[in-house]
Symmetry: C2
Amino acid sequence: VEFELIERIRRRVARRDDVALGIGDDAALLRVPSGMELVVATDTLNAGVHFPPETAPSDIGWKALAVNLSDLASMGATPAWFTLSLCLPAPDPEWLDAFLDGALALANEHQVSLVGGDTTRGPLSISITALGFVSVGQALRRDGANVGDDVWITGSPGDAAAALSQWRAGHDMDPALRARLDRPTPRLAAGLALRGLAHACIDVSDGLLADLGHVLYASGVGARIDVMHLPFSSALADAFPRIAQRQELQLAGGDDYELCFTAPPDRRGAILDALVACDTAATRIGQVESEPGVRVIGADGALWQGKIVGWDHFAGASR
Amino acid sequence: VEFELIERIRRRVARRDDVALGIGDDAALLRVPSGMELVVATDTLNAGVHFPPETAPSDIGWKALAVNLSDLASMGATPAWFTLSLCLPAPDPEWLDAFLDGALALANEHQVSLVGGDTTRGPLSISITALGFVSVGQALRRDGANVGDDVWITGSPGDAAAALSQWRAGHDMDPALRARLDRPTPRLAAGLALRGLAHACIDVSDGLLADLGHVLYASGVGARIDVMHLPFSSALADAFPRIAQRQELQLAGGDDYELCFTAPPDRRGAILDALVACDTAATRIGQVESEPGVRVIGADGALWQGKIVGWDHFAGASR
């Protein structure tokens, strides 16, 4: 049965010239261009923890790959290949086909090729390892933020958390918010454009403040964030008209997969130009400071008193 | 909590010079030597499917890495790095430490470095992606078997299946057999030694006949196997004195992670010399033929009539 599933996958996969040997042997053989570092990210999604169990299989496929490509985006890397480890409750060709519809749509969009993996039996879980390249020394890391840097965010955070909040409350999810939860956009072009401009970068999976906190901790600095500068979608404003609640979703909610990065103020123009060229909005939301920690400034100019809880992958039962 | 677990892992990991950035960012940055192809394998182990639930955590750690290193071994690759995606029912530092004891013991033995991954919440499952190198064009593949080749097996197959058979029957497992089930030896030195000698190679995870079948199918050939040539351990003979039962375990049982390979008869001496140099036994057990399929010759010289069932990862419930 596993053999048939793997054949089903193999028939649908696009090949790349740098894949010397793809699906069907004990391992894949791949060619990394010279002068490039290999960039490797692994992320697993479990049903009921990382997505609502009733999520459409095609959306699960999209998202499982998207969260991994997002990790490469945040490094400024070009994605090339991925492996897929798929744990299914039962062999289900229809489910698999729909899953592949979503995963391969995103893969084809970025010319990324599935090169191997396995299928096993158990509760639904998808583990993907994404592989890509970046020129030696050019990767965007978490540990490069400097005091005085601006803090930036691409797009508008909070939509995915808002959809999840509606789902948790037993409401129908707003379609626009739900699309951000189910089909996040890995900011690959933006990540590439930010090489040589950003000092540090991360993708927002655990929550804006939590992920910014990882950057600041790794860089040995702190930051001040002005919540009134946080861009928000009209869908978010419509669904959560109370400002405090909306801001909590924006600051604490994960799953947006926008890029949060820091860069010196003298590059503001260059950054906006670079991101406009790849059709990605970005907004300055604060400054890097020497004092550790994140200080959030509210509408009144005083420290924001909202509750900030980062996304904890072991807190799934509460979702 | 995830952060603490990851810190716990990071503190114990040995670094390699070719790891520009390891655990702690969105992705790892790795340096593949020029002239080398990247070799990538992914294998997942689920509790109750791929190992008995009561398996010691240190053995689970060893085995989860071993099955992936075995895939690199069967390609003739040198392992370098791995990522670990660990799904745990609850954050349990003691369990994690024991798991790492096993995984890192094997990793250190082969100078392999853990470079990333994630921890999630759910039923116990371990997904590892192993990365290594092989000189361009030197990899051992499944599709190179030629008519007239000898069929070889390293070590003695059947011990792991024998242990599992005892476990399934509710008996105590023989310690020597159980060690083969819980702590398989990836045949890395043998895989390296066989480059330029073997025509095709695979590691025995699904069962000797099933895995040989993959090689023959990929190569468009068939084979004849003489069961009387199958080497067996004294532990296996003691535990399963009935020859038919023992041979069934040897032919159908997976989980041995020995290498099954084919090579032309004029390399017999060179192969034995190369494998003696890395302290690995190997035995000729048959010949590649043009007729597709595997013909098993029994003790009486007639076609063997035993029942051959390959290891099916979706058949876990029956184990």
